[in-house]
Structure formats: C-alpha cells, structure tokens
C-alpha cells in the first residue's frame, strides 16, 4: 500500500448532491450508501409553530420545529403518506437548508453503512461556489453533532479532477440541476474565473459566486421535460434532445441575456478568464463528469463543438457510468486514502482551539 501512497485511516467520504447523497469508505471505488437527498416531511402543526414564533431566536430553532416528522432514505420520500411533503436541501448546488442535513447524514452513516461517525475522520465535498458560511456550518455540524475526530471539506471540481487522475483539468460537471465548468490548476480551483455568470432565476447565487461559471440549465431542461411530458400543449414545440439543448440551447430566446448558458459558452468564458498560459493545459485535460453527462450523444456533440473552437482539446470522460455519476465521491475517496493527505485534516482539537476560522485556512 505504501507503494501507491495510500494509507487507509478508515476515513469516510460524504458527497451531497441534488439527486443523491453518497457516503462510503475512503479507498473504495463506489460509495457504500447512496440515498436520495429528497426527503419527505409532514409540516408541524400550526400551534407548535405559534409556540416557537414568540421566541424568534434565530431561524434554526423555528425551522427545526417546521417538521413534525421527517422521512429519509429509499423508503422516505417515495412512499405516500398522508400530509407528507417533499423537500430538498440543495438549491443551485449549494446547501440552502441545513435542517435535514444531519438526519440525512445520520441515516446514511448509521442506518445504511452502520458506522459510528465519531470513530472516523470524515471528508465532505462542496461545490466550487460554496460560501465560507456554508462550509463553516458543515464543519460545525460534523464536529458538534457527529463528534468526528477529524474533518475536511474538499471541492468537487478538484475531486473530479483527482478522480480522473489529473492535477490540472477543466472539469465539466453536469449534475441534475447545475452544470458547471471549473478550471483546476495544481489541485486548486481558479476562482477568478468569470465575473459575470448570469444565472437564470438565481440572482442570489450569482451574488455568492461572482467568478464561477455554472449554469442551472440541467434543471431547466428537467423542468421543461417534466412540463412537456405532463401537460403538453399545442403551442409548445416538439421535444428536443436534451444533451443538444445543453450545448446549443434553443429553449429560450437567444437574444435574452438571462437565458441559461450553454456548455460551450461556459467553457469559452471560463477559459477566457484564465491565464493564456493555462489555456492549453486546461484544454488538453478536459474532464467530463456528472450524471447529466451520460445523455446519449452528449460527449460526441461536445467533442464536435469543442473541436471547432479548440482544435487540440482532449476530453476525458470515464466510460464507466458509476465513475461519472460519483466522480466527486471517487475523488474524495482517493484523496482521503492518501498517506500524504492526513496532515491536512482539521482535527477536533484544532476546531476547538481555532474555531471556524480554521476551515478557511486549511481548506483553500
């Protein structure tokens, strides 16, 4: 094992996406627990709400009481229960609602994997445009609620590059709701990417991530297809192929500047923001990942589109669908099982000593 630079310390890796939460042991090639991120809940009765309403001591306490019951896991949101509603904590790739996160993680670790979180160092992934407040909150959950001995939060862009075996790469990650293009150099995300990522319907998140190019186009396509399938009308156009919409979008008016960006435009903008020296390196190491990249023909179409503008582009797309769907988790699994990585963990001791500031210092 030492030959490969690996040193297993029984670390766990948790990767939270919009569609599913992946958890497993570092060093494995597939996550052990894959549970839907959607959760079912029955709203709390109004009188309980009123009881907490006069307290008004922050959103957390009042939000917690929002749910009388929460249903999580494979049999959670998918089973009909009277009065149950379905929620998802993720918006635009970011965790916007932290209340269901501890139950979700607890379910994945204790009920599915049957492990005690306080015995294992845990590596959690975050999207590139994650906010410092968000990652500190995640660290807090891990240290305070799960009592983990060590914690690290790593970027999905970097992890996807690692999963493809690259230190520098242009990672095209197409998830269920968000498609993103992330330049990674030497294991670091270049944040000074774009300065105007116009995101459809999300002025809020564009405020958070001024420099990162991601697009909610997949969500839009999903929504469109759902609408088309459920209530097709006479004046709606025929169903177009999804991947082609990702690339050459004709969904909305092309002159509309607020329309979601297509993948080639995301790539072009991301590259333009990078140093000219880096462009060739990045174009030679394009990593296509994410479950949304599994659409038939997407890779071919993307290849053709990119060959037009960048004749030397080389796209690395794992043929194994598992590797593509859980690329972020896989990269985390690789990272957390490396012997040289163990000096980077934020230990509980450090957390108690430095507080939240250590997260920003350590996880650059």
């Amino acid at each position: 094992m030492v030959n490969y630079g690996g040193d297993e310390v029984c670390a766990l890796v948790i990767d939270i996406g919009f569609s599913s939460l992946r958890a497993g042991y570092a060093g494995d090639d597939t996550p052990k627990a894959i549970i839907p991120t959607h959760y079912g809940y029955t709203p709390a009765t109004p009188d309980a709400d009123v009881a907490m309403g006069d307290g008004t001591d922050g959103g957390e306490a009042s939000n917690k009481s929002k749910y009388a019951n929460i249903y999580i896991g494979q049999n959670g949101p998918s089973i009909w229960r009277p009065g149950m509603e379905i929620g998802n904590p993720i918006t635009d790739g970011l965790i916007s609602d932290f209340n269901p996160i501890p139950p979700l993680i607890r379910h994945a670790l204790q009920d599915v994997m049957r492990v005690e979180a306080n015995e294992h160092p845990i590596l959690v992934t975050e999207p590139t445009w994650n906010t410092p407040a968000n990652r500190e909150r995640m660290a807090e959950i891990m240290f305070e609620e799960f009592q983990v001995p060590a914690f690290y939060i790593a970027n999905t862009g970097v992890l996807n590059a690692f999963a493809a075996g690259k230190g520098s790469a242009l990672v095209i990650d197409i998830g269920q709701t968000v498609a993103s293009v992330t330049p990674v150099v030497d294991g670091f995300v270049l944040r000074k990417g774009l300065h105007q990522a116009t995101l459809l319907y999300s002025a809020r998140s564009s405020k958070h991530s001024p420099g990162l190019s991601h697009s909610p186009l997949p969500r839009f396509i999903h929504g469109l297809s759902k609408g088309l399938l459920t209530n097709a009308t006479n004046y709606r156009g025929p169903i177009e192929l999804w991947p082609h919409q990702l690339i050459a979008s004709k969904i909305t008016n092309p002159s509309n500047p607020n329309q979601p960006k297509t993948l080639p435009s995301l790539i072009t903008e991301s590259l333009r923001a990078c140093d000219p020296e880096l462009r060739q390196v990045l174009m030679g190491n394009v990593v296509l990942t994410g479950g949304g990249s599994l659409f038939t023909g997407l890779l071919d179409r993307l290849n053709a589109e990119m060959a037009r503008t960048f004749p030397h582009a080389k796209i690395h797309a794992p043929g194994n669908p598992i590797e593509r769907r859980y690329g972020g988790w896989l990269g985390g699994s690789i990272l957390a099982s490396l012997g040289t990585f163990h000096q980077l963990w934020i230990s509980k001791e450090e957390w108690q000593e430095h507080g939240k500031a250590i997260v920003g210092q350590r996880c650059k």
Binding site: V9, C10, P276, E277, L338, G339, S347
Partner: protein
C-alpha cells in the same frame, strides 16, 4: 504407423540399429509408458505410445491448480489497528490504520517525509528600507531599458510573500487568490518579478555562509526576466486570437514554402546529375539543407503546434513565433540550437566531426556516433604495408595498437602514418629515378664509346656549357636534314626524359637531364 521404421527394417531385412550398436551403448529399457487415461485399450494399442499429441488432446481437463499456501512453514502475518501520529501535524491528532504487528510502534510516519517546505525568505524592516523599498524611487531604471518599476509598498510585499508561502509558489493560484487593490495594476508577471527580485536582493546583500558559486547559482535560479515573460505572453495571446482565415492562410503559406523547397531541391539535384554526367564535375552550388524534421522557414503552425505549445508550457520558448521570412527564421532557429549543443558537447566531451563537404545531399546527412578507438587509422595500401610496418618497427611503435586513443593521439598517429607513407612513396620514386639515371648514364657511356670510336672529336666536356649554342648552330646550318636525322634518337630518349621530368626529385636530376639532352643534340 508408429512402427513404420522397424517395419521397413524388417521388410528390407536390415538389422535393428539398437541390436547392432556396440556394447558401449547400453540397451535402452523398453518403453514402459502407461496407457493414458481417457483412451480405450484398443485405440492405445493401435496408435501406440508415440502419439503424445493425441493423448494430450484426449486427456481430461483438470481444474485450476489450487494455490499452495505456506501454512506449515509460518503462520499468517499479524496485522493490528494501531493509532499513529503524523509528525507534520502540529496538533495531536491520532488516526488509526492497519499495520503489520511486527512494525515498530514509534517509527516515523512514512508519509511525513513528503511534507517538503520551500525555503521561506523573510526580511526585517531594516532590510526592507535599505534594499527593497522601491516606493520612493519611482524612476528606478530597470536594466537600463528605461521602464519604470511599479511601486510596491511593504504591505503588498508582505502579502505577496505570505501568499507565496501559503500556496507553495504556485503562481497561477497565487495570482488567482491575490487581491491587490486595483490601483496597483499588477499582473502575474509583476508579482513574479517582485518576488524574485526581492529574493535576489536579499541573497546578494546578506552574508552568505557557503561558497560564492553556490550563491550565484542560487541567484541565477531566481532570475526572472519580466519583459521576456510579458512578450511571451503577448505572443501567446496573439497566437490564440488568430482567426480561422489567418490560420488557413498560414497553412497555405506553409504548404507553399514546402512546395517551393521541394521544387528547388529537385531542380538542384537534376542539375547536379546533369553536370556530373556531362562534365564530370560538381556544380559547386551549395546544397539545400536536407529536411530533417524542422521545416525550413516557418514554424509549421498545424504540424508543430503541439510541440510548440509544449515548449510554451514549459516556458522554454525564446524566439518570436511570427514568421519573418524564410532565411532569417532559419538562422534564428538554428543558431540557439548550435550554441546550446556546443556548450553541451563541451560539457560531455562530445566531439562532432564535420561531414566531408563532398558528401552528396542525397546521402543521409547523419553520422552515427562511434567510439574513437574503433576508428584508429589503419593502412589502406597493402603493397606499402609491410614497409610501413617495418619503419614503424624501426621507430619502436606499433601502428595498430594505441594505448591511449585520445583525440590528439589518434591525430598524431594518423599524421605519422601519413608521413611515413609519403616518405616511403618518395623513397620509391627516388629509387626509381636513381635507377633511371643509372640506366641513362650507362647508355650515355655506351654512346660516348660509340662516338669516340666513330668520329673521335666528341669531347665529353663540351656537353655542359656549349650545348645550346651547338644546338642552335646545328639547327641553323643543318636545317631539315639535321632535324629529320634527330627524330629517331629524340623519340628514343623522350620516354626517359619525360619520366625524369615528371619525377623532379632533386636538383642533380635536372642537371643530369640537361646533360643528357645536350649530349643527344651533340650526338646528332
């Protein structure tokens, strides 16, 4: 079928070879091969034991061999879940991993050694104000080129050094994370320039513990030419901003150059052939450089792009990439290569021998590397060999063996060989000339004798001084008659004279020749 040999023997009533063999060859034991499994007895008796291929095919397939564990020799290795401490961590985080129980507990964590830190350069306030402060010297000339250095405050410099340390000198990441105020107007090259210049100044101005060479080497490793880098980046940008039309034009131009080159080369070759066949000479025109990978003229955009880009990434490129005419760019490309290889050769004791200029261009312009000792000059002329060997032996040398075949020694040996050969050649010629002289002297003596017998007035002393006069008088007086008379003797001696004239060995020969000629004239 198997017994066919013995059958034939018995049919021809030949003796059995094993029976005929002498007693020294013991009789082999009868083949006692067992009937392989899976063959019926009848079939086996038919095909006999000498059909192993059939038997192997018929043999039952076996299951894969079970692996044999060395269970009896040693017990299984014990592994333990042990907690360990990483020495590169400042806190006391205890992680657990599985290790062999035999490993020592207090061993250093094996991955701690990979935590290598770059040397951190720090400076005191005093040092900063003395050496590094450029904010009050706005007009500092940089390399005499008249460009102004950008003003750096101490805060910015501190911040830059902090970032450099934090990101381990990954300049692209530093540039990405750095947040300088926009009025500073820094770009990546400015950051690099500042960092490296500060480091250089610190090293130069501080007392150095080691030797001077190490110090200058360190300073050299921290060199950064901001103008070159900026120019390089500009070229890069201009390369990338080419339109499709420009690319197509470049490609077309490149193809055109290649075509022209080929035509010219073909033309040259044809002319060469023509001249050689008609006039038997070389045209003397310089050959075009054979195409060996690097195309003449432009750095080929489409074909060499990958290579070029790689060099860009490796920060190696130093020549402007825009094509500037075939000739100049060729020299621009070739020159640095040569200088570099010269330095390299000097360092590695490689000596390149120039190909002889007469090598035709059609031959591969490549000379393989060889060991000098394998090319010790040897004697090519077989007839001379023994004599050369003899003379070498007289000198106490051996021409075929060189104890130290260094370049100088080989050259000296070669020179010596040539000198000896030339000397022997000369000696041979001299001998021949001497012999000829002897012969002609003999002839002269004989003719003198004849003359004395016939006319009696032929003084031998006459022949030297008065020869010409006599000749002329003869011509004037005798006219045609005398000339016709002299033809026979002249043609007789012409061969000898020519021989002598060709050999011109020494002065005495000349005088002898003159004497002979004079005598011939006189004799007529």
């Amino acid at each position: 079928m198997a017994a066919s040999a013995s059958d034939i023997r018995s049919a021809l009533s030949l003796p059995d070879p094993s029976a005929v063999a002498g007693p020294s060859q013991p009789k082999k034991p009868a083949p006692t091969t067992r009937k392989p499994e899976g063959i019926s007895r009848e079939l086996y008796s038919l095909i006999g034991p000498s059909q192993p291929s059939v038997a192997a095919q018929v043999a039952k397939p076996r299951l894969k061999q079970k692996p044999r564990f060395a269970t009896g020799i040693s017990s299984a290795t014990k592994w333990e879940l042990k907690s360990f401490q990483n020495s590169t961590r400042k806190d006391g985080l205890q992680l657990k991993h599985w290790v062999k129980a035999s490993d020592s507990v207090d061993a250093e964590y094996p991955f701690a050694k990979y935590n290598i830190q770059n040397p951190v350069y720090t400076y005191s306030q005093d040092e900063y104000t003395r050496f590094l402060d450029t904010s009050n010297r706005l007009a500092t000339l940089k390399d005499g080129k008249g460009e102004l250095e950008k003003p750096w405050t101490k805060e910015w410099t501190d911040y830059l050094f902090k970032l450099y340390h934090e990101y381990d000198g990954r300049w692209h990441v530093i540039w990405d994370r750095a947040e300088f105020p926009p009025e500073a107007g820094f770009d990546l090259e400015d950051l690099k320039h500042r960092y490296y210049s500060v480091c250089r100044k610190l090293i130069r101005n501080r007392p150095w513990p080691g030797d001077e060479a190490g110090r200058s080497a360190l300073i050299n490793s921290l060199q950064f030419d901001i103008e070159r880098e900026q120019m390089r980046k500009r070229y890069l940008v201009s390369l990338e901003s080419r339109t499709a039309d420009q690319l197509a034009e470049e490609e077309a131009l490149y193809l055109e150059v290649r075509r022209l080159e080929q035509t010219e080369r073909r033309f040259k070759r044809e002319r060469e052939d023509l001249l050689r066949t008609l006039a038997g000479m070389d045209s003397g025109l310089p050959y075009l450089v054979e195409d060996n990978g690097v195309p003449l003229g432009i750095f080929s955009e489409p074909r060499n792009l990958n290579k070029k880009r790689k060099t860009i990434v490796g920060q190696e490129i130093d020549s402007p990439l825009t094509p500037s005419g075939a000739g100049s760019s060729v020299s621009a490309i070739k020159r640095p290569q040569n200088t570099k290889s010269a330095a390299y050769d000097a360092q590695h004791c490689i000596i390149r021998t120039e190909l002889p200029s007469s090598t035709s261009a059609t031959k591969a312009a490549h000379q393989p590397a060889y060991i000098r000792s394998s090319k010790i000059p040897y004697l090519k002329n077989n007839s001379m060999q023994s004599k050369v060997l003899q003379s070498f032996a007289e000198m106490g040398l051996s021409p075929s063996r060189l104890v130290m075949p260094t370049k100088e020694n080989v050259a000296q040996l070669e020179g010596l060989l040539e000198a000896v050969t030339a000397m022997l050649e000369t000696k041979k010629l001299l001998d021949k000339a001497d012999h000829d002289i002897q012969v002609s002297k003999k002839q002269l003596a004989m003719r003198n004798g004849q003359l004395e017998d016939g006319e009696g007035d032929g003084e031998p002393g006459v022949k030297t001084e008065e020869a010409m006069d006599v000749d002329q008088t003869h011509d004037e007086t005798d006219g045609n008659e005398g000339r016709g008379h002299s033809v026979g003797t002249l043609s007789e001696s012409a061969f000898d004279v020519n021989l002598l004239r060709g050999y011109k060995c020494n002065e005495s020969l000349d005088t002898e020749y003159k004497a002979a000629e004079a005598w011939i004239e006189v004799s007529q």
